[in-house]
Structure formats: C-alpha cells, structure tokens
C-alpha cells in the first residue's frame, strides 16, 4: 500500500477528515488520537484522585475530626482507590503510550481493530461516568474500599451498584484493549521485525495484554455476583445464606494481584526503552528481560493469596502462597540488575527522562523490597492492613507506575506533540516531587510498624508525629506535581519545535516525523538481519 495520500502530509494532530473540531477526535479511530483522548480523560480523573488523596492527608493531620466526617473519609479512600486503580494505573501506560506508540514501534499503520479501539475508550468513559453517578446520586457515597469485600459490600446501605457496575465496564474496556494489542502484535509487525527484535516496551505490553485478558473476567463475574447479591440476595457470598466471604477474597485477588503486574509491566517496559537510549548502548540481557517479563506475567497469576494470610486460609495455602510470592520477586530483581548494568560503560546523556528513570529504579526498589516484608508470613501477620501496606503500594504503584508514566511522558513528549518542554523546569519539578514523595510515604512505613491500621479516620496520639510529617510531604509533592504539569501543558502549546529524533534512539517511532503523520509511515518499513531496536553500534 504505497498510495502516499494527502493524509500523510499533515500530522495526526492537524489532520481534518470527514469531521471537524471535537467530533474529529471523539469519532477518530486513529490510534494516536485515541491515545491522547485517554491521556486527557485520565488527566481529569487523576486530578480528582490527587485531590482526594490530599484531602485524606489533611484529615489525618491531627487526631479527631479535622476537615471531614468519618463517613466522608471512608468514601474518600474508596473513591480515591477506585479512581487510581481502575481508571489510572491499570489502563494507564497501555492505553496512553501503548496506543500512541506501540503501532509505530512495530512499523504498523494502526492497531488491528481500530473501531474496537475507539469502543474501548467509550467503555472507559462509560465506566468513569457510572462511578461518578454513584457519587452524585442515591444516598450515601460508596464506602467499601476499592476491594469491595463481602459481606460488607452488600450490607452497607450506600450507593454501591453504579460503582460496582462502573468497575465492571472499566474491566471490559481493559480486556478489549488487551485483545486488540495481542492481535496487533501477532499480526502487524513490519517485515523482518521478528519476535526476537521487538522493542521491550512492546514485549511488556504483550505480557500485560495476556494478564488483562485472562484475569479481568474473573473480577468481572465476581462483581456481578456482588451486585446480584445486593439486589436478589442470591446468597453466593453471604455467610447467613451459607456463602463463604473468604471465597470472595480469593476471586477478587485472582484478578487484583495480576492487576498489580498489569500496572508495573508496561512501566518496566518504558524504563527499558529509556535507559538504553540515554546510555547510547544496547540493553544488557535483552533475552533475560523478556524472559523475566513473561515469568512475572505467568507466576504473578498464581500468588494472589498473599493478600489473605490473616483471612483464615489453610496452612498449606499460606505456605504455598508465601513461597511463590518470593519466587515472583526474582524476575523483578533480574530486571533491576540488567538496567543498572546497561549503564555500565555507556555514554550517559543525563536528560529529564533519564532522571525519572533512575528515580523510578530507586523508589521501585523500596516498594519491591518492602513487598518482601509483606510476602513473608511472620512479618505479614504483624503489618498486614496497616499503614505499612499503604506505604508499600504507594511506593510501588505510584512510585513505580507513576514515576514511569512521567518518565515515558517526558521521553515521548517531543514525538507526541512535536514540541520540546523546558528542561530546567522539568528537572526542578522532579526534584521537588521526589522530595515530597519520600516525605509523604516513608513515615507510613514507621506508622505501620507502630501498629496503625489502614483505613483509619481517626488515630491515637502516638501516631501523630508520623502523620504530621506525611501530610507535610503531600504538600511538597503537589507543588512539584503542579510545576511538572504546568510545564508540560505550556510546552505542548508553545514549546520550541522538536526534532525527529532528539534523543538519538533506535526504535522505529523515532524514524517518523514529530508529530507523526496520520498513517505513521508512507511506506511500511522493513527490518533487515543486522538491525535491532537497541543497535547503537
């Protein structure tokens, strides 16, 4: 298909097809426009999530009531958790950067099913709207925590149904994105781009897509059952009718543990692109990184029970889950070692994305290593459901996925918008953000060890100092965040024009103009024997 059409003379940002204005976006099946639409809708939700997080920290500034009632606090962490997990970090990198970059990285003009891709976005928005409906209508905000544990989730008098249904629809959106990516990666790689030459980001999307496909339906049906339980009282998880609440937890975590790897794998993929680019050096242990990606995806499916050590499982199950939890930590360790080795004898060009990448490695290590404390039975019993867990997952979810998201944002920004951001402001923002992050979450480890349970609206006096420090950190963090985001928004509008390949990278997306034309390539590229995504010779 070499009909070099007019469409390819302008970038995807300017192209006007059948429709104009807003319609040309929300009816577009172009993977890049869909990616941007995800970015913007997530940006909105993310701001809400951050504000809720800040509100919680404000409440925890002092014991007793500070700014909100207990009822509101419970709703706040529920909505905060649901937004952050189901709307930001689970779809996050795949839906935004997977859509924006993956087809170009494999030399394709679009994903395999563009219409389905657009439909996934609509489902995403529908899910968001449903959750918002849960907030705005009915009496009582949803207040179960993002885990919807039975039997509380069908006992509480609050407006759970729309929220549960929203989470279900969001899951469906995520499944369809995964399906689309799998077919695209299988069928649409350009000639010569063998599996053994795929960029690592694409590999992680591939692994992620499988988890999305195989894990999400389980939580889907579980949520449907909770809804049916509320409406009809069918008695699947209700102990009064013979059900077993622990079975609910099994099913929930069969999805939600793999989901944490849905969050982290693409983040690791993005880091695996950034480090070789700025080191100007082949990635160390390409095959080992792929193997560890697949190992995480696979073994990650089998360790869900480590969230339930205290729930009354059998000793056999506890033994097994603890053992496998430790095994699944090894592939992550392999990745860290490979990233650091890639820097060895490189020629490192320290730019903003690279700063983000090393900050990522640092906080990811803290998050991951604290995961080991949680994976071990004796210590988990002690700190389970305390602030220690909250610290663990903020370090690894927000420190891992969030930092990688910003790393990817600063890395692909010139490609996406065709403009460059102000590097000084970007670095300043990062520094403040990082300091705030450490101040916000480190004290929570200590609070957990002192025994402060999580989801606590009020606390005893001995937990006060840790909470003050932590709240203080949240203000620093947000200052940094505002600097970063304002800088990005301003630069997307009026930054200096970016070159085609500002970082000297070797993957395919840097061989097309910035921003890319509508159909990406005039002619589908071909890879020959000696080329590779990290061939910096």
């Amino acid at each position: 298909m070499t009909n070099s059409n007019a469409a390819n003379d302008v970038s995807y940002l300017e192209y006007q097809g059948k429709y104009k204005g807003l319609l040309s976006w929300i009816l577009s099946t172009d993977h890049k426009r869909i990616g941007l639409m995800y970015l913007y809708s997530m940006g909105v939700m993310f701001s809400i999530g951050v504000l809720l997080g800040l509100a919680m920290k404000f409440e925890l500034l002092a014991p007793g009531k500070t700014i909100m009632s207990a009822e509101l606090y419970n709703a706040t962490f529920t909505v905060h958790g649901v937004i952050m997990i189901f709307m930001i970090v689970v779809p996050g990198l795949p839906a935004v950067f997977g859509n924006l970059m993956m087809p170009i990285m494999i030399g394709a003009k679009d994903v395999a099913f563009p219409k389905l891709n657009l439909m996934s976005w609509y489902l995403y928005v529908t899910g968001v709207v449903l959750v918002l409906i849960a907030l705005l209508t009915g009496r009582g905000l949803p207040d179960t925590g993002w885990t919807f544990y039975a039997p509380y989730s069908f006992k509480t008098g609050t407006n759970m149904l729309p929220a549960i249904f929203g989470a279900f629809v969001l899951g469906f959106s995520s499944i369809l994105t995964g399906l689309n990516f799998l077919v695209t990666i299988h069928r649409m790689r350009c000639p010569g781009l063998k599996w053994s030459k795929l960029p690592l980001f694409v590999w992680t999307l591939y692994g992620t897509a499988w988890i999305q496909l195989l894990a999400t339906p389980v939580v889907g049906i579980t949520l449907v059952l909770v809804a049916l339980e509320r409406v009809f009282g069918i008695g699947v998880f209700d102990p009064a009718l013979g059900g077993d609440p622990v079975l609910y937890q099994h099913l929930f975590w069969i999805y939600s543990h793999p989901a944490v790897y849905i969050m982290i794998l693409p983040a690791m993929g993005a880091i695996s692109e950034i480090i070789p680019t700025f080191s100007q050096k082949a990635i160390f242990g390409y095959k080992a990184i792929i193997a560890s990606t697949m190992a995480i995806a696979f073994v990650g499916y089998l360790v869900w029970g480590h969230h339930m050590y205290t729930a009354g499982m059998s000793g056999t199950a506890q033994y097994y889950f603890s053992l496998l939890t430790f095994i699944v930590a090894i592939p992550s360790a392999i990745k860290v070692f490979n990233w650091i080795s890639t820097m060895y004898k490189g020629s490192i060009n320290v730019q903003t994305p690279f700063y983000w990448a090393i900050a990522f490695i640092f906080v990811f290590m803290i998050g991951g290593l604290s995961g080991l404390v949680l994976g071990s039975l004796a210590t988990n019993i002690y700190v389970h459901d305390t602030a220690f867990v909250v610290a663990h997952f903020h370090f690894i979810v927000f420190g891992g996925t969030g930092f990688a998201f910003f790393a990817a944002m600063h890395y692909w920004f010139p490609k996406i918008f065709g403009r460059m951001y102000d590097k000084k402001w970007a670095n300043t923002g990062l520094l403040i953000f990082f300091i705030g992050f450490m101040t916000l979450y480190s004290p929570m480890f200590v609070l957990g060890m002192q025994g402060m349970p999580r989801r606590y609206y009020d606390y005893l006096e001995q937990f006060h100092s840790g909470n003050i420090l932590s709240t203080f950190g949240s203000w620093i963090l947000v200052t940094g965040l505002v600097i970063i985001i304002v800088n990005l928004i301003r630069s997307a509008r009026s930054g200096p024009k970016a070159e085609m390949n500002p970082w000297g990278s070797k993957t395919l997306e840097w061989t097309v103009p910035s921003p890319p034309p509508l159909e990406n390539f005039n002619e589908i590229p071909t890879y020959d024997e000696n080329e590779g995504p990290y061939n910096y010779k």
């Binding site: 059900g243 080992a288 205290t310 392999i334 004898k345 090393i358 039975l377 004796a378 989801r455």
Partner: protein
C-alpha cells in the same frame, strides 16, 4: 523500632522481629549497594567523561549469578517467615479460652464463667486461645505489641488465634479490617496482669455480676450497655451517630417504618425490647435498616430490663 520498647510482650515477638530484621537487613543492603552503584555509573560514564559507549549485549554467567543469589536469599527469607509464623497456628491444649464477639463497632469478650467485658483481661505467662465470632461483617483482631492478627469472618468454623502474654501492662487492641463507618473507633485494650491479680479480678467481678442488683438498676444497665457496645452507635447527649440518640427517648413519639408502612409509636418497654431483639422490625425514621443486629441470645430479659431502667433516666 517499636519492638525495642516492649520487647517480648508475647511469645511471638521474637520470631516475627528476627524475621523483620533479617529481611530489612537484606533489603537495606541491596537498596544502598544498588543505589550507590547506579549513581556511580551515572557519574563515571557520563557523556562528558565517556563519550564513546562500549557495546555489551549481556552475559549469561552474570544473569545466572543474579538469578541464583536472589533465589537463595528469598528462600532464606521465606523459611524464617514460615518458621516464625508456624507456632501461631497451633494453640497448646491447656490454653485458657476466651470467646470474642466482634460486631459493628466493638469487641466484647466472654470468659469461661460467663462474664463479659469490653476489655480483654489476661493473666501473664498463660497461653490464651481466642475463639473469634464475627456477628455481622469481617473484623480483624490485632494486637500490635503481641504481633498477632486474625480476621474474624462471619460464619467461619474454627476461627481462632492464640498467644502467650509475657509482659504486664496495657496494650492496644485494634480492629484491622475495614468494617464500616466507625472502623477506626473499634479498638480497646488488653490488660495483662500477674496470675494472682487476674484470679482475684476473675472471681471478684463475677461476684459483682451475680449481685448486680446491689447497684442501682440504672447503673447496671449502663454498664451492660457499655460492655456490649451500644454506645458505638447511640449517643446519650442528643447527637446523631449511626443510630438515634437515647437522649429523652423514654415516652417520646417516634416515626417508624414497619415493613412498607409508616406509623407513629410511643417508646415504651415493649418497643425497646423489640428494638433490641428484632431491631429491623421497626426502623426509626431517617436511619438505615440492617445496621443494628439482634441481641437475641446475648442479652437476657433481665439485662434488657436493666437497660430500660437506664434509658428511663435519660431525660
């Protein structure tokens, strides 16, 4: 760390804390070592210092090394974690048994002699086995100083935990599983006392229960309500918590929902009795159904009479 202040408050502290220290040690070693190496590389192989990169594709022997070493370390951590946890599973046969009821949002403890308290009193150095009974949703009994935690799952068989307190004093006991509105107020304490003091207390209070009528009925009523936790949901000062306030409740007219129909009733003995034994039959206007559970089998007729006497006094 917290543990240093109250070392060995229970027989499990040692196993848990040594595992903690082991894992933290390994973690800090890797965190610091890797961070230092990473920063050194960034500095040493900076573009300015090292303009030409050396291409290295990988190294099989290194990959094996850094797979095997973490594997061994994780297995060590796993082993200590399991070894520290295993004793928590098997309570000794001679352990003293206490039944714990968890409900929204308080704990109550029932001893062998039928006595009920809202605080857990225990003798030092005697193993104790707690039989956990959750009455509504999942709660979790957590005593940080003892390093123990166990979810209380409604309907679950053999829901137990055990430990041996080894230090006198008062320790916090929290509910660690989110259980609704007042989850963060669902805490009480464990009081560990020397054997003799415990025995005194144990027989002493039993006497008070037996001769409860020595106190004025209203005072006993209040104590019963305190112990069983009515005040988690009902205030006596007119403020609205989960349930209606008890202030001025006696004899006042109340709008209630019975089935589908609304009607007005006057709060009398029968109504209060019914509210305690079958709370969902009449729902006070403006409150949710299903939150208050029946106290059938937990409060005797006698107890309810005392409660009524107390409620009468709340003008």
């Amino acid at each position: 760390m917290y543990s240093s202040e109250i070392t060995q408050a229970s027989n499990f502290v040692k196993g848990v804390d040594s595992t903690f220290v082991l894992i933290l040690g390994i973690a800090f070693f890797f965190l610091i070592a890797l961070t230092v190496v990473m920063l050194y590389f960034v500095f040493r192989y900076n573009k300015k210092r090292n303009p030409k990169p050396t291409q290295i594709e990988g190294s099989v022997s290194l990959e094996i090394v850094w797979t095997v070493i973490p594997f061994i370390l994780t297995m060590v951590m796993f082993y200590f974690g399991w070894a520290g946890y295993k004793p928590m599973r098997n309570a000794p046969k001679d352990a003293m048994e206490v039944t714990v009821y968890g409900r929204m949002w308080n704990f109550s403890f029932e001893y062998g002699n039928g006595m009920r308290t809202d605080t857990l009193y225990l003798p030092k150095d005697k193993p104790v086995k707690l039989n956990l009974k959750a009455l509504d949703v999942i709660h979790s009994l957590y005593i940080p100083a003892f390093r123990v935690k166990q979810d209380m799952v409604p309907g679950m068989k053999n829901n137990t935990m055990w430990f041996k307190p080894q230090r006198e004093g008062e320790f916090e006991l929290f509910c660690a599983e989110y259980c609704g509105l007042q989850h963060s107020y669902m805490y009480t304490s464990v009081v560990v006392m020397p054997d003799s003091a415990f025995n005194n207390w144990y027989s002493d209070t039993a006497q008070v229960v037996a001769s409860a009528n020595v106190e004025s009925p209203a005072v006993s009523g209040r104590r019963i309500m305190q112990n069983i936790g009515c005040f988690a949901c009902h205030s006596t000062d007119g403020s609205k918590l989960v349930g209606p306030s008890f202030k001025g409740i006696w004899g006042h007219t109340q709008l209630v929902q019975t089935g589908r129909e609304e009607r007005e009733i006057i709060v009398d003995e029968d109504y209060i009795r019914k509210s305690v034994y079958d709370p969902n039959a009449d729902i006070a206007d403006g409150f949710n159904k299903g939150l208050m559970l029946s106290y059938e089998g937990q409060l005797s007729d006698e107890d309810v009479n005392l409660i009524i006497e107390y409620l009468k006094t709340l003008k």
